[in-house]
């Protein structure tokens, strides 16, 4: 059986394998090996028979090919209504065909399926809202990604991401020591500016256990600082776990269900150990989707709920503003027109459209909605892991156009994007299409506007 040294059916489980994979710049060798990777058709068919249940089977069977899903898809719109971008076509020609052929497909077919599953669908689930039968092709593409993963047909970065979670329980190589060091370093930084502020690690029975995105620890530690300042300002009894702090799951984008389970279990393990009242996660869409919405099912919790109640960051912010825990200076409200990017993962797929608007009412004087918005919003263009896959940058950049048109139509120069993926997509969009816009998370603007109680202010002697 033709298996490559880097590109094969075996997931990455050791640091050594991961390093070898990462040293292959751009996945050059990896993608060469992919061309030769053999399909284990028996295993593929066995997998399908075991996992393709009535919901998906029925979706594949009863689609009447009406084409109503076409213009629900931002890829279809961004690619000048290319019929090959019709969601029904995309799924029927990949998963539908795979099932029809009872798994007897070749390497070329699998590469086509992979390119479709990652570069023509971000699993934003918008088509599911526009199909009269409720056929959710985002769900089906998620399933297809799992099948592709099991056969080793996944983009290079996705294989790395899945390996990261398997080894570090984080999407990046941040070890427990790295994480705790970062927290301590950031805590010192905060204490240079504020009095009596801290980042408690592994505190038991706190009201809030905060979890985040590994890239904050690795590349954007100011995000951790911001979160810490806001929790302190709001007077929260909070903590971060030393293990189980990572809320994201690139394994979900990769279709690596085993690693998804490991990752969710790690966070739930921290909940069991520290017994917080609630968990609050950072401004990330897929992290919430993975750990709060899907996670309980991967782990096997029949309640469909996390061991302790879990909130997205926007829910915490709305609550803190509503209850007055966090007070903003009304004179600092944003005066210029400002718009809001709805993350598919927690708005369409999490019902949090209302709380984000509640936040906007506290922070913006001229808030302008995009059209469409809330549950009907378009994906930023970089969801489902697409932002991070070099092989598909061209496709991603074309897809960004729909969101760009939406943003420009609002006339706003400022976009609030409380999601890492959306934030990245909008940043790249502005760069590629040379747009005169700015984008931000909520945390920095909240810090600018927050009223700092005197007890946190450094004494004059402390300041230089």
């Amino acid at each position: 059986m033709a298996e490559g040294t880097l590109c094969n059916k075996k997931p990455v489980n050791t640091e050594e394998e991961l390093k070898a994979l990462m040293s292959d710049t751009g996945g050059k060798v990896y993608y060469q090996e992919l061309e030769e990777l053999e399909v284990d058709t028996t295993a593929l068919w066995a997998n399908i028979q075991k996992t393709l249940k009535s919901r998906l089977k029925t979706w594949l069977e009863i689609c009447v090919h009406c084409g109503m899903c076409a213009d629900s898809c931002f890829f279809y719109l961004a690619n000048n209504k290319d019929p090959e971008q019709v969601p029904s076509y995309k799924i029927q020609s990949t998963l539908g065909e795979m099932v029809k052929r009872k798994g007897k497909v070749d390497n070329e077919f699998m590469r086509m399926a992979m390119d479709t599953a990652w570069a023509k669908c971000t699993a934003c689930n918008r088509c599911g809202m526009y199909c009269p039968f409720g056929i959710d092709m985002g769900v089906m593409f998620g399933y297809l990604r799992g099948l592709c993963f099991s056969q080793g047909f996944i983009p290079w970065e996705m294989k790395i991401g899945s390996g990261m979670h398997r080894i570090y329980r984080a999407q990046m190589d941040v070890t427990t020591e790295d994480w705790v060091d970062t927290v301590e370093f950031e805590e010192e930084g905060i204490q240079d500016e504020y009095k009596d502020m801290s980042i408690p690690v592994d505190k038991e029975n706190a009201d809030i256990m905060y979890t985040l995105n590994a890239r904050e620890a690795k590349h954007y530690p100011e995000d951790i600082t911001d979160a810490a300042i806001l929790f302190n300002l709001a007077g929260e009894n909070w903590t971060v776990p030393s293990v189980g702090w990572e809320q994201t799951s690139l394994s979900m984008f990769a279709g690596d269900w085993e690693a998804c389970k490991m990752q969710a279990e790690t966070v739930y393990g921290a909940m069991d150990k520290l017994k917080p009242k609630r968990m609050v996660g950072t401004e990330c869409g897929h992290a919430y989707r993975a750990t709060v919405i899907e996670g309980p099912y991967w782990v096997g919790l029949e309640s469909g709920k996390t061991p302790v109640e879990s909130l997205h960051y926007v829910e915490w912010v709305a609550e803190a503003l509503r209850t007055g825990k966090l007070k903003l200076d009304p004179s600092k409200k944003i005066k210029e027109p400002v718009t809001l990017q709805d993350s598919c993962n927690y708005v369409r797929n999490g019902g949090l459209g209302k709380v984000t608007r509640e936040i906007m009412s506290y922070i913006a004087e001229d808030f302008r909605e995009m059209t469409p918005c809330k549950e009907h919003n378009f994906c930023c263009g970089g969801g489902g892991g697409l932002n991070g896959i070099g092989r598909y940058h061209k496709q991603r950049n074309i897809g960004l156009k729909v969101k760009m048109d939406q943003v420009l139509a609002t006339g706003c120069k400022l976009v609030i994007a409380p999601c890492h993926n959306c934030w990245d997509a909008i940043r790249d969009m502005a760069k590629i299409y040379k747009l005169d816009i700015r984008w931000t998370f909520l945390k920095p603007i909240l810090i600018d506007m927050a009223i700092v109680p005197d007890k946190f202010k450094l004494d004059d002697d402390d300041e230089d």
């Binding site: 089977k57 076409a70 469909g304 019902g351 809330k374």
Partner: protein
């Protein structure tokens, strides 16, 4: 021949139709899997039911959803087609006459002229569906021969019935063809894409429960389809 097609064959067709549909519903429900579908159907059922009702009702109302609103012409054709088909099949005086003769039951009936109009609407809608499939690139790419076959199976009873009713050709032959095509349609429903007769509801209930339980329904903000 007439007695055969309205007698044993009718029994058979209705039997297959009803039993077939029940089997489809049961199999669908048996194949639901909370872990695989990632929806806690049994635990958060109340939220699920709320979501399911919302999901089905919104889509049964013309222009009741974003999807219907974005495709106004198709929406009108779709509703006209389905309503005309169901109303004329169930409430046509001639159908109820036979029903009364055979099983001693009869439902409310519509005037024959209305039935005639409905049959024409069904045929007209099918012509529109075919034109759509041929003309629109986004529909053409997903259209298969099977889609045309399904349209033909669905419209055949209306064409034959129209010909028989207006006695355009020999009545005796065309009324039998009408009955046969009607029975063929009944039998085809459980075995083809036409199973959306019930699976539309099952699929809509499922996705409604999915959104009602897992994807935001429990956050209290009702989803606007």
């Amino acid at each position: 021949m007439y007695t055969f097609v309205t007698g044993p064959l009718a029994w058979l067709a209705f039997g297959i139709f009803f039993i077939g549909l029940i089997v489809r519903i049961v199999l669908y429900m048996k194949g639901l899997n909370w872990k695989m579908d990632r929806v806690s159907y049994r635990v958060n059922t109340v939220y699920g039911i709320k979501g399911a009702i919302r999901s089905v009702v919104s889509w049964l109302i013309p222009f009741g959803t974003g999807g219907w609103k974005t495709h106004p012409v198709f929406t009108i054709i779709t509703f006209v087609f389905h309503l005309s088909l169901l109303i004329s099949a169930v409430f046509l005086p001639a159908h109820n006459y036979i029903l009364n003769q055979k099983w001693g039951i009869s439902l409310f009936t519509i005037p024959e002229a209305v039935g005639d109009l409905l049959a024409m609407l069904v045929m007209g809608a099918v012509v529109m569906f075919i034109i759509r499939r041929l003309v629109l690139p986004e529909v053409r790419i997903i259209t298969t021969a099977y889609d045309y076959l399904i349209l033909f199976i669905a419209v055949a009873p209306f064409i034959t019935g129209f010909i028989a009713y207006h006695q355009i050709f020999e009545y005796k032959l065309w009324i039998i063809l009408h009955i046969l095509s009607g029975e063929f349609l009944l039998i085809a429903i459980p075995f083809t894409k036409l199973s959306h007769f019930v699976l539309f509801f099952m699929s809509r209930i499922q996705i409604g429960m999915d959104f009602g339980i897992k994807r935001g329904g429990m956050k209290g903000s009702g989803l606007t389809w």
